[in-house]
């Protein structure tokens, strides 16, 4: 039977992971990877945000209703970005 790790231990592991990701993103930024610099930095930031949301903010153990609210927030953010950038990136004469 899988043993559920204590909450304090989970927080500790997430915290160490966040610090390692911070070191990784700073180190990656010191090298010139061309356009990949931005992709790597954005990906690492997304993983960090996901860790904080899932474990520090307990979204992982939340009810479906809470998960739905979080997803709705992100959906609206996607609408904001995709519609605005669709304009700015495809209609250069504006």
């Amino acid at each position: 039977m899988p043993h559920k790790p204590s909450q304090v231990r989970v927080y500790g592991v997430v915290y160490v992971a966040l610090l390692l990701l911070l070191a990784l993103t700073v180190e990656a930024a010191r090298h010139d990877l061309g356009h990949w610099n931005f992709v790597v930095a954005a990906l690492i930031a997304a993983v960090k945000a996901l860790l904080i949301a899932l474990y520090f903010m307990h979204v992982r153990d939340s009810t479906s209703l809470i998960k739905l609210v979080v997803a709705a927030g992100l959906l609206w953010l996607c609408i904001l970005f995709s519609l605005s950038l669709a304009d700015y990136w495809t209609r250069a004469w504006l």
Binding site: V8, L22, T25, A29, N37, A45, K48, Y88
Partner: protein
Amino acid sequence: MSRELPAAAASPLAHQFDDLPQQREADEMGMWIFLCTEIMFFGGLFLAYTIYRTQDEAAFAAASHELDLFWGTVNTAVLMTSSLTMALAGHAAEASRRKQTAFLLLATLVLGSVFIGIKGQEYYHKYLHGLMPLWGLPFEWQGTSRGHAELFFDLYFLMTGVHALHMLIGLGILVVLIVNASRGGLLGEFSAPIHITGLYWHFVDIVWVFLFPLLYLIGAH
């Protein structure tokens, strides 16, 4: 009937809820709805950043190079540590450990204040170097693409400034929590305010997680 009133006053359950899990879910959902509005609020700023950066990536990288990567990294670590102490404070409150809860909340307050202090010192250096294009202050930019470099610093001060304002509000709430927790409130079934404040605090942390690479890292190499 008169027997019910003192019992109701001491109960952690507000009368409109069936049970504690339902109340807890409502508490959390209320904060998450507020955070959704915050996602859109900061989202607009991130969108403005994206649009102006794609117009002149070289200018944004050159302007970003002027930021202090060392202090930015230290501040990120400080903020993450404060998120850890905040999460642990919620755990301690649930376990009704009064001293530990108050100590962890105090640690969060101190770490948050350190973050604001470092931020203020960075602002002061930008002011000294003429890189604070606010309130008609001179913008002394030596490189090319002056316009977009100035836009970068406008966005830097706007985004980190609004973020710092959220931190200050969080610090104010923490003071109230510390006073209540050290008096023995907010423990066990009464710990909801600490969890709700934690959600807010972690959200502000997440905003910084994206601000840090966008502002400090794009010009690091």
